[in-house]
Subunit: 371 residues, 2 copies
């Protein structure tokens, strides 16, 4: 087994493993694109809303029209545009609690009051959601239904149906962010929210975890009217898309590389997920956690009596880098009582670490927790 | 000579000529980047603020530190970020009148009141600018000092000095947008505004006109504090840069392609500028215009008594596509009197047309004007 005892172990950002980045295949695809029949198109202004062949490819996958697809510079860019279009100053939006830290910040910067609805092992707490709706109608609820970032939780089929029913009844948008969805290592996929009610759902995803983050190719699928408005806003803010990268994604599919690469990713990441589940059960047997069937993340919440002060610094002293759990927690539901669960929340991204690093990392984590 | 009499001639957007897009050279550079030693870096998250070797390259050109450079997805993206950071709702910003239509719209969308200061043949009208400053202090003045879009005008050396003096005295920012600056076909470059006062000037430029628009590689150079804040805002809105394209721009320089490509562009565009000057003097001898020494645009303003109603449609009937001149005109200086110069303003981008198309286009234009 690889020697890892002295090196620093980074349980921080959810990034793909370096060995999973398909440089040579992408190089081939860029070459085919830039020396192919569409080269002059791909190097010029145009295709606002995204390179049309890519919009068509995505449209086919989601069974929608091409103009229901907007391709942007990564999915955070699209979330920023969505919030820019939908949120008026002081509007309320809901997120799962915990949720993706950058989405929370983006919605806030666009003027939203962001409320977190507790997340359980099978998805959002529906009773808490209904209570929150009764108090104030959100513009949208942002959720990550598959292998959630940061918790690793997948929303159950029953909760998916309940969510679209609530969105329909109370007239709010559901933004489902599904960048990890196809990275399923075991079990079966549940329906997308949009499969249950396409009129109330905006689906956001990207190729960052499936090909390469630095291509910054994300996309959004939604009702035609909304996508038209967003496309106009995108044109007004970035003028035109980065076409060579988008055309390269199309070429990557055409050559069959997308499917073979996805298979390689699963083969690389599945043992890493298994390694972290095994290590948590071994080293932290008293802490329950949701076992994901895919994605990038497992998370644990320390018991209430745990010593959390100075946790990140103590971890660092033991060669372990953690993200501050509080970043994943939005405003407390009730403004008067501060929810301090975030202090005890630890996200453990496992894809960019080897099984040996994962084992060592969890062992160190257990040492710190049990100090 | 090429037959052009029946085809439609597009005097619309300022785009590079298709034959000027270096597909094969870029293909080579992408390959070198994606199969080179930095491939794993260039395909991963990171380098927020822009690919560091590119920031260093630009920093060297502008004689600043690398962290005074922010690389974004095209210069409009950077203008949007700048306006997002600097403009509070209701703030006033000044632009030249006429100015780049998308910049005007961007500043407005970010909440600014955008006032146009008349542009003369040697740059902005300084007396009008001082009058406007006396009434209300702008957050910034946005100008395109070299081969202005849409007018083709270059700001004189004396006016450059006067502008930085005013900015210093009254405490506003100067945003100088210089995407055409190096496309000089005759004459000598004047100093950048930042060469005269680096503390008050934010320089924005891009590789859209010099390599390819669809790479969407734009950059901004400014004081360290401001660039730090903008870099944070960029990270919050797009997370990370598109690194393969930015690394390709570095490779394009390393291989000497940037210089040779710039030389080719000048050789291609210089005769086109000459053709449009000649054609305007021949077919519209009574209309004076500023003769540019570079860039993409010549413009004319029709005499006050001209028939402008339905101009664009009449042009189209004669196989000529024009942009609505009013788009380049911001709010009138005095809210009570509408400035209607925009109706008589015609921008003529010449780079993407052959000399034969230019001659035919100007002939048709003269026919419509003299109808």
């Amino acid at each position: 087994m690889q020697q890892v005892s002295s090196e620093q172990i980074l349980f921080t950002r959810g990034v793909p493993a370096a060995e999973a980045l398909p440089g040579r295949l992408l190089s081939e695809c860029f070459q085919a694109v830039l020396e192919g029949p569409d080269a002059k198109v791909v190097l010029q202004y145009g295709h606002n809303g995204g390179y049309l062949p890519l919009r068509r490819l995505i449209a086919e996958q989601y069974n929608v029209a091409a103009d229901q697809v907007l391709v942007g510079n990564g999915s955070l860019h699209l979330q920023d545009l969505l919030a820019g279009l939908l949120v008026k100053n002081g509007d309320v939006v809901f997120v799962e609690q915990p949720s993706y830290d950058r989405a929370i910040k983006t919605f806030r910067r666009r003027g939203a009051k962001v409320l977190g609805i507790p997340l359980k092992g099978d998805g959002i707490d529906l009773a808490a959601l209904e209570q929150a709706i009764a108090k104030q109608r959100p513009v949208f609820l942002y959720i990550i239904p598959d292998f959630q970032n940061p918790a690793g939780v997948t929303t159950s089929a029953a909760k998916r149906q309940a969510l679209v029913d609530l969105a329909q009844r109370y007239g709010f948008w559901l933004i489902e962010d599904v960048p990890y969805r196809t990275l399923r290592y075991t079990g079966k996929s549940l329906p997308l929210l949009r499969d249950l009610n396409a009129e109330r759902v905006i689906t956001v995803s990207s190729y960052s975890k499936l090909i390469s983050p630095a291509l910054r190719v994300g996309y959004l699928v939604g009702p035609l009217d909304l996508v038209k408005k967003l496309t106009k806003l995108a044109e007004e803010t970035i003028l035109a898309p980065v076409l060579p990268t988008q055309a390269t994604v199309v070429e990557f599919h055409k050559r069959g590389y997308f499917d073979s690469n996805l298979e390689s990713l699963k083969q690389l990441y599945a043992p890493r997920l298994q390694a972290i589940i095994t290590a948590l059960k071994l080293h932290l047997p008293s802490i329950p956690f949701a076992e994901p069937e895919g994605g990038f993340f497992v998370s644990i919440t320390l018991p209430e009596q745990s010593r959390v002060s100075n946790l990140l610094n103590r971890a660092k002293e033991h060669g372990l880098v953690l993200t501050d759990g509080r970043d994943f927690f939005a405003d407390p539901l009730d403004g008067s009582v501060e929810d301090r669960t975030g202090e005890r929340f630890i996200r453990l991204p496992f894809c960019a670490l080897t099984p040996a690093q994962i084992q060592e990392g969890v062992k160190r984590l257990a040492g710190i927790i049990n100090e």
